[in-house]
Symmetry: none
Amino acid sequence: MDVHTLTRDLQVQNDSKIVMLVADGLGGLPMTAGGKTELETAATPHLDRIAGTAIQGASIPVLPGISPGSGPGHLGLFGYDPLSYQIGRGALEATGIGFELQANDVAIRCNFCTLDGDGNIADRRAGRIASEDSRPLVEKLSENISITGIEVFVQPVKEHRFVVVFRGPDLGGNVSDTDPQRTGVPPLDPVADDEASAKTAEVAKEFLKQAGTILADEPKANFHTMRGFAAKPALPTYKDVYGLRAAAIAVYPMYKGLARLVGMDIVGSAQTLQEQIDTLRDNWTNYDFFFIHFKYTDSTGEDGDFDGKVKRIEEFDAILPQVEALGPEVLIVTGDHSTPSFMKNHSWHPVPTMLASCRCRPDGNTAFNESTCIRGGLGQFEAKHLMTLALANANRLGKYGA
Amino acid sequence: MDVHTLTRDLQVQNDSKIVMLVADGLGGLPMTAGGKTELETAATPHLDRIAGTAIQGASIPVLPGISPGSGPGHLGLFGYDPLSYQIGRGALEATGIGFELQANDVAIRCNFCTLDGDGNIADRRAGRIASEDSRPLVEKLSENISITGIEVFVQPVKEHRFVVVFRGPDLGGNVSDTDPQRTGVPPLDPVADDEASAKTAEVAKEFLKQAGTILADEPKANFHTMRGFAAKPALPTYKDVYGLRAAAIAVYPMYKGLARLVGMDIVGSAQTLQEQIDTLRDNWTNYDFFFIHFKYTDSTGEDGDFDGKVKRIEEFDAILPQVEALGPEVLIVTGDHSTPSFMKNHSWHPVPTMLASCRCRPDGNTAFNESTCIRGGLGQFEAKHLMTLALANANRLGKYGA
C-alpha cells in the first residue's frame, strides 16, 4: 500500500501548526581527518537547546550512497518517494526559473548552438554565449514563433540555456532529444516515444523550423537543440494526501517551484531570512504547514567555503527563537541533502534532522549535529518518512486498523 | 521475493523453543518534558538482567508515524507485513469476540438503529442501547432468521454493536455498507462491489428483510445497519511459512482470534498472567513457538494511568524467571505498539524489544527500556522482521543461496 493511501485514509483535522525549516545542504564533513564538520564548528545555542526536547535522526535523502539534486531532495522531505516520483528535466528547469507549469504543459530544456554551412553542429553550446547575448535571442524567439492551437513560452535560463514550454491539449512528454551529443553532425529530429507524444513532436519540429529561420543570421548562435522534454509531474497535493493547507516561504525560484508542484501556496516575497520569518508570522493563521527554505548553507558548501557555511548556520540558528515564539506543535529542522565544503558538491551523507513536539520521545541529545543525530532516537531513516512523523506528532493521523 | 517464500524454503526442524512475550502497548512517553517513561520508571530487575545477554532494538510496528490497531500491530510481530495483509473490519470484529472464522465465511459489523415512521434512520446507534437490552434482540435474530443454503451466525459485541457471519459457498466479501452515515434517510441496500460478492449481497438483503419484520415492534431498536463486510483474511499459517507448531496463550478473545488467523492453536483458558505461565509450562513439549499476550500494559496506558502501567510492567517482569526456567532457545520481549499514558492511545513510537538467545550478539545494554533499545544492537527495525530473527536465533533457518 502506498503511504499516501494511508495518510489520505487516516488524516485528521485540528488546529496544529507544523514548521519545516530546511537548511539546504545542511550536512557536512570535516576538512581534515579528525576535524569537525561545519555544524559541529558553528555556535548554535538555539539548535542545541531545542535538541533537549526533540528527537533527532540522520535522514537519508534517497538511498544510502545516492546524492540527490534539489528535486529529489525536496520530494523526499515532502514525503514523496523520490524514486517513485520523478520530475522530468524540462519540468525541473522550468520550475527552477519560477515558471508555473500547468497540467497541459510540456517543458523542454534548450541550448543555443551554432551550425556550420552544411547544417552540422559546430558548437553544441554556442561558445557558452553570455547571458546578455542570449537574452535578446530568447526574446526574438518568444516574439516571433507562432504555432496554431498551441501557447508557446520561451524563457531565458543562463548563458546558452533557455526553456521552451508548449501549452495545449494532447501533448505527451515523451519525445527524444535533438542534441546528437557531438559536433560535425546535424541536430536530430524530435521523435515521439509514444503515441500520446506524437503531437508534441510535431509541434517541436515546427518550433525548430521557425527558430532556424529566425536565428539564421545571428552571429553568436544560429540554432538550438531541445532536450529533456517533460510534462508536468503528476504529484498529489499536500491538501489531498495530508489534509494540510501548506505554505512555502522561499527566496529562490527553484524551491518555490518545487513547493508549487506539491500544491503549496507560495507566500510573501522575502529576500532575507528575517523577511522569511516575518512572512511566516504574517501567514501563521492561514496555513497548517510551513516550508521555509534557507539556501546559503548549500551555496557556501558548494563554494568550498567552510567558514562561510559555519557563519550561515549561525545566522540560521539565530532566528530560531522567533519561530519558537509562534508555538508550532511540530518544529522540524533538516536539510534536503548534505553539501560538505570538503566536497564542494551535494552528497549522499545523511542529513542532521530534528523534530520537536510534545509527543516526540526525546533521545537525551543536548546538541544538534551530525554526530548527535546519528545516535538520535530516529536513527537513520529515509527522508520520505519525515512527513508521516510530522503528522503523527501533530496528532493529525488516526489509527491504522482496529 | 516475499520473505515467507524464503522462510518456507530455508526452514529447518529442531527441538528449539521460541517464546514471544507481548506486553501490549509496552512503549511509553514521559508525562513531562525530561521525565521518565513508564518502562524507565518501573523496577524491572529481571528484564534488566536478561538485557545483559540479549540484543535490543526499537520495533516500528508499521511505518514511521503510523499508529496501528491491534490487528496490524500483531500481524507485524507475527512476521506478516501489515500493509500487505489486511484484516477486514467485519473479520476483525468477529475475531475480537472469539468467533472462529472459516474459509467460507463473510463477517459483518452490525449496528442496531431506529427507523422513524417513514423508514428513515432516526438514530444510527439506537441511542447506544445498553448491552443488556441488545442481547435479547441479538438472540431473537439468531433464533428466527433462516436463509436457504446459508449458515447464519448472529453474535453480540457490546451496546448497539453485533456481528453477523454468513457461512456458505461462493460468498465474496466485497459488499458496500448499508449505513448511510447520516439520519433522516433510509438505510442503503447492500450492493456487491464485484461479481464474486453478488450472492453475499443477496443474502444480506434477505437477512435485512427478515430482521426488519422480526424487530418491527421493538421499542429500543427496530432495525440495524451492516458495515465492513469481510471474508476471512487469507493468511498463510505458522506451520506453512515457519514450520512451527505454534500456541497462543491469551486472556482476551481479540488476541486469541488474531493468533488463530495465522494458524496458532489456542491453548488453556488462563485468566491471569500466572495462569498463562502455568499453561505455557503444561504445553511446553507440544509446541515449538509460544505467543503470550499480556493486555494490561495497554489498558492502563489507554486510561492515562501512568502509575498503573508501571505496576503492570513490574507484574510482567516478576514472572520472567518462570519463563527462563523452562529454558527457551529464544526469548523475545516486545509489544505490538506503544500506548503512552501521556497520549491515552495507541501510538507510532517504536516499541522496546529484546531478543535473548545463545546466538544473539549482545549489545552491551544492561537495562531494558525505550532509551536502551533505541541504541540497541537491532537499531530501529520494522516489526515484521522479528520472526525471521527469532527463527535464525533458534537455528531454524538454513542458508540462502550456496
